[in-house]
């Protein structure tokens, strides 16, 4: 991600920052923000370690990172990965989970927490 931003550094930073947000949903934002943050620090001082590593991994990932930023040809799976995750997050919670949560309270009334966890 950062590499892409760097190569396009003639674009006003604010614009790219906003792009970052429109491109990622709330969950992805952390990553975009992290990237921007590290670039910001680089402008003041240089964090070679960070940028170096970033470059190393983006070299290989370049193909997918670049289109991701431009939006059009996002590698389908990058989206799919989030979809997979989000679809589970959005599932209604099976009753067994609520039962378990309810049990916590009961156990609590008895003064003891469930012992099942531990080791």
């Amino acid at each position: 991600m950062c590499t892409e931003q760097k190569s396009a550094s003639f674009v006003p930073k604010a614009t790219r920052y906003l792009e970052g947000f429109s491109r990622f949903d709330a969950r992805g934002t952390t990553e975009a923000a992290t990237c921007d943050g590290s670039e910001a620090t680089k402008m003041a001082s240089t964090t070679d370690e960070d940028s170096g590593k970033e470059k190393g991994s983006t070299l290989r990932a370049q193909k997918e990172v670049a289109p991701e930023k431009e939006g059009a040809k996002n590698p389908a799976w990058a989206n799919g990965l989030k979809q997979l995750y989000d679809s589970v997050v959005d599932e209604p919670l099976p009753d067994s989970f609520n039962d378990l949560l309810a049990k916590f309270d009961e156990d609590d009334d008895d003064g003891d927490t469930p012992k099942k966890g531990g080791a």
Binding site: G80, L81, Q83, D108
Partner: protein
Amino acid sequence: MTKKKKAPPKRNAAEKADFKRELTEVVPHLRAFARGLCGRPDMADDLVQETMLKAWAAQDRFEPGTSMRAWTFVILRNAYLTDMRRNRFRGEYDEGVAERILTAPAGQEEPIHLSDMHRALLTLPPERREALLLVGAGGFSYEEAAEICGCAIGTIKSRVGRARAALNSMLADGDIPQRSIEDEGAHRAILEELDDVAAGKGIAAAKS
């Protein structure tokens, strides 16, 4: 999880209520993470329940104000590694579910076969799969993911990079190993890797 510290003073009722509320809120995320890790929905849910029990039992060690999601993910991941090594999870995945979940990407020109993606994901070495799940799906920063996995940020970055590269090439070439997880040899290899992963890393960062 491995060490059992003497419990700090018990939480009062209000604090317990807070804890329970926060725990309840992250359950859907635990389910999503677990599903990505072990593929099978039923086993993933077992894993989440195990995690909830452990989290509840260890609640005195949770620092209020810190991320419940990160804290519980550490517990879940350790439980997963333990269970994997006990061979309770085989990393199988439910093709029907994957298909249903993954087929309908809105507004995408070329619907990917998300079942392919899921299958490809499950062929990744566990530590890369986990890193990609945390960062690419869970939205954790590299820092947070490193914290959860108990390793350096650079390690997470490289795992994510490798995972992405592997998925890219698998999905681009349509070259996804057929159900390699069910293959005995591959399965054994995965378990061996898990031993490595579990050996040093992960447990270190577990504040639980």
